[in-house]
Amino acid sequence: MPCLIQRDRLLLMIATLFLTVIGIVFVYSAGSYWGKIHYGQTAPFLVKQLIYLGVALLSFSFCGRYKGLQSEKTWTLLYWLSILLLAAVLVPGIGVVRNGSQSWIALGPLSLQPSELTKIATIVKLSFILSNQKSTGSKIHWRHFGYLFLPIILIMLQPDFGSAFILIVSVFLLFFISGYPIRFYVFLIIAGVVGLVGLILSAPYRLKRIQAFLDPWSDPLGSGFQAIQSLLAIGPAGLYGFGFGNSRQKYLYLPEPQNDFIFSIIAEEMGFIGAAIIIFAFGVLIYAGFKLAYKSSHKVSLYSIATLIGMIGFQAFLNIGVVSGLLPVTGVTLPFISYGGTSLVVTWIAIGIVWNFSKER
């Protein structure tokens, strides 16, 4: 069914490009005033983001074609390299602290966030391990968890809970697709609920945190600040929004509007319609990706494609959920759209790998 695969790959690319273009446009709109105030230029983010996009497209075309990526050895190497980088980032002098997390390695004018790379390497490496496994006997294996928790621990040390959470969810998604028994997930859910209740009961301040999340207005200048500023962008916009470029919240009311909270500026300027289109585009991306996974010719391709797409989709859900007040604030970028080199390049690399793995072999 090569032609059908071609159709799904086309759909995937359309969604990806659409979201990327939206990203470029709104990094400009949302970030222009912030850039002017903090860097004295109207479009510092746009220029940089265009450069990052160039890098992203180059990475994509490389990853989309490079045959070496289809061998497990490459991924074993990449996995351990990313672990090394994660360890290096914790070393003072190499790692750079930003926003309270030591997540960055500075390379001259550029900076790299190893955890982004780790997410992909861990997912593909584990996809290989799972696809090599004999189908007999229990699927659950301590080795899988070892490969998962080694990077998780290192990421938590930064600390970067957002990335860690996304990686855990993505890998559990991978385990699920690979046939981990349902009872494992039932156990996971029960353990999660019990653990959560236990945590809340053991320390009443956590209950207050939850209340603060449910009612951000109780502390509008403290813990509820970002959530409220985001709602003040989205809410008044209504169906059509204030029109492109007419956001009010981007005038320093919402901090760093080009980053994690870019979706609220989109919703403010383009209204519910614009916001819904973005969500729909992510839906198309996930749909096309899963179709490609379904039709892959190899187990490992199926696992990798589904998990990488799932990771992007889940990250998008997490970001929009936070921005719209559905979820408590966690620092997660919106794939393709938020400003940031590593995020954009790595997401495009993921798409490149999907492209590569979805080829007939």
Binding site: Y33, L231, Y251, Y253, F290, S296
Partner: protein, 638 residues
């Protein structure tokens, strides 16, 4: 293609979950963007608002004829937005000398890390001329807000009723406080479109939020009446070195309060200088005390309404005391009034006589009348801080309590309750709710927003009974204890009151509240005037001596204002030793100089002009003057 059944099912399941998550997001967006749209828009506007307030005018307070009692005076205030000017030092150097303030201090103020700074107190409510000068400097980020301050054309007049406003024009006491919401209006403002730090956004035009001026409050007060009352009370305060003084004038037929005064008074622009008791207590409605003899009007009305006495025919013997259940209740006159008619009982304010009247009415009925006349509950005059007073509860109401209540002791009432009750007793029996606000007017277009109409609470006694009460009270002024209030041709009726002050349930020796409640004219009352002087320290402490002349003088001075015309039939004042004897002025106009000299009038005559025939005279014919008084006569040549 490699896919197993299990993997296929699980992929579809995950896809389903993603669809659910997408729906969750869409649902949340719908909630936020549609259901919470209005709420969030309001919040966002609050968040964006960077406003330079342009105070809308606080409503005026005017008297019943529209004379301004409280108005506003323009007093601009300076505001500074630090984000729009990076040289606060320069601004401070320019402004400090103009505002006569320390440059360093101003600089410190201007460097505050806030969006908008109100330069206070030196830059608050500055003169208009200074504001203009400062505007000419064209300092970036400096704005002049149009502020107003309260202005009182009559100074201290009515201050304890009107109250005052605080630094931001919020009503803090009196009517200013009570009607604050109406008077305040909605503030206008320049809406600055700025970023979160207050810097101007060059491409967005500043907006304007239209406010609304506060409503004008038209009172029932008549400034001319008020002036007379305050003048008289001020004199009394000084003359008797009294602690406090209270005065009320009310139209008995409508309940409109024409004048309402409390002393000592204060200047509303300097309220910080006086004890808060002075501005927080509007004495005519707040203060409660034993009414004393003025309360006998209630007993009298009840007795007449119940038809248990014929004032002129029934006789009473007052030995100077009455025995009730073993208790001896004394008359104010130790030796007693002896044999007297009940009209004389009223004229003399004879306590044993009123105990008898109370006995004839009966305890249950008298209690009912007292409550029907409005005692024991607030009058509903809509003035803040009104007290209810204290009556005997029915179970504590024994014969002794009944007896003392009959002549106004052992209970506690407010001045406004007394005015309300006496108005009903003399106006034909209608208990009218006293009120102070006549109209609420939209200041911008002059339209009346609300009119307060006279409110009838109930008919307490019949009109015929009321006429008898008026007659008896006129006779109190003409022949009895209220003679000090007598004014020729005005037919004043009234009743004195003298009550010992009580504190913590015990009488304070030597401290009295002397009062008089009067009305005029007796045939058709147009005004009820009540005056009480608290603890006068000179002269004999009797209402008849101190308060009655004040009420008489007030009624004399306001009678044209309240529409009282001279009366022909009046009770002539009975002359008593010590009274200044007055005689009527004969008509001299038209007579010749010779004729007059022959007649030997008991007056001194001062001649004016030249001629033989008299053209006019002052006072006019039939007016009363003191014996040996002077008549000015104007001659004309024939």
């Amino acid at each position: 293609m490699w896919v197993t059944k299990q993997v296929s099912v699980r992929l579809k399941f995950v896809m389903m979950i993603f669809i659910c998550l997408g729906c969750l997001l869409i649902g949340k967006l719908i909630t936020v963007q549609f259901f919470q749209h209005d709420f969030l828009t309001k919040k966002a506007e609050e968040n964006w608002d960077r406003e330079v307030p342009m105070k809308s005018l606080r409503g005026n307070i005017v008297d019943r004829s529209g004379k301004l009692l409280v108005g506003n005076r323009l007093a601009p205030t300076l505001y500074f937005m630090p984000a729009q000017n990076r040289e606060p030092e320069k601004v401070a150097a320019q402004l400090a000398p103009m505002l006569q303030m320390d440059e360093k201090k101003l600089e410190e103020q201007l460097k505050k890390k806030v969006t908008i700074i109100k330069i206070a107190p030196e830059g608050k409510n500055i003169s208009y001329e200074l504001a203009e000068k400062i505007q000419k400097l064209q300092i970036a980020g400096l704005y002049t807000g149009l502020d107003y301050v309260r202005d009182y054309p009559y100074g201290v007049l009515l201050s304890r009723l009107l109250g005052f406003t605080g630094s931001d024009m919020q009503g803090l006491a009196g009517l200013e406080y009570q009607y604050n919401d109406l008077l305040l209006g909605k503030q206008s403002a320049i809406r600055l479109f700025t970023d979160a730090k207050g810097a101007n956004l060059p491409h967005v035009e500043d907006g304007w939020r239209e406010g609304q001026d506060g409503a004008t409050l038209e009172l029932t007060i008549d400034v001319d009446v008020q002036k007379v009352i305050e003048r008289e009370l001020a004199q009394a305060m000084e003359k008797y070195e009294a602690d406090q003084a209270i005065g009320i004038a009310m139209n008995p037929k409508t309940g409109e309060i024409l004048g309402l005064a409390s002393f000592p008074t204060y200047n509303p622009t300097e309220y910080q200088k006086v004890d808060s008791k002075i501005y927080n207590r509007n004495l005519p409605v707040w203060m409660t005390y034993e009414p004393g003899s003025t309360f006998k009007i209630i007993t009298l009305s009840a007795a007449l309404e119940e038809n248990v006495v014929d004032l002129e025919k029934d006789q009473f013997f007052d030995p100077g005391y009455a025995n009730v259940e073993g208790a001896t209740l004394r008359c104010w006159k130790r030796e007693g009034h002896g044999q007297e008619t009940f009209l004389e009982v009223v004229e003399n304010s004879c306590n044993p006589g009123f105990i008898e009247l109370g006995r004839r009415v009966g305890p249950t009925k008298l209690q009912q009348y007292i409550r029907d006349f409005g005692f024991g509950q607030v009058t509903g005059s809509n003035m803040a801080g009104e007290s209810t007073g204290i009556l005997f509860s029915p179970k504590n109401y024994g014969p002794v309590e009944h007896a003392t209540t009959s002549f106004g002791q052992g209970i506690s009432v407010t001045p406004i309750q007394q005015v309300q009750a006496v108005s009903a007793a003399v106006n034909g029996g209608k208990l009218m709710t006293p009120y102070i606000v006549k109209k609420v007017i939209n200041s911008e277009n002059g339209k009346t927003l609300k009119t307060y109409e006279p409110t009838l609470k109930r008919q307490v006694i019949r009109p015929e009974t009321s006429a008898k009460v008026r007659n008896a009270l006129e006779s109190v002024v003409a022949n009895g204890s209220g003679r000090g209030a007598y004014q020729d041709h005005l037919r004043i009726g009234g009743k004195t009151g003298t009550a010992q002050k009580a504190e913590n349930g015990r009488y304070k020796s030597g401290e009295y509240i002397v009062s008089f409640i009067g009305f005029a004219p007796a045939d058709d009352p147009k005004v009820v005037v009540y005056v009480a002087v608290d603890n006068p320290k000179h002269g004999s402490q009797f209402g008849g001596v101190i308060a009655a002349p004040i009420v008489g003088q007030i009624i004399e001075d306001i009678h044209t204002t309240v529409g009282i015309t001279d009366r022909k039939e009046q009770m002539e004042k009975e002359y008593r030793w010590g009274d200044v004897e007055k005689v009527r002025v004969p008509n001299l106009v038209g007579k010749t100089k010779e004729e007059i000299t022959e007649l030997l009038y008991p007056f001194r005559i001062e001649w004016h002009g030249e001629g033989e025939k008299i053209a006019s005279q002052l006072p006019k014919a039939d007016a009363q003057i003191v014996k040996d008084g002077t008549i000015h006569v104007y001659l004309e040549k024939q």
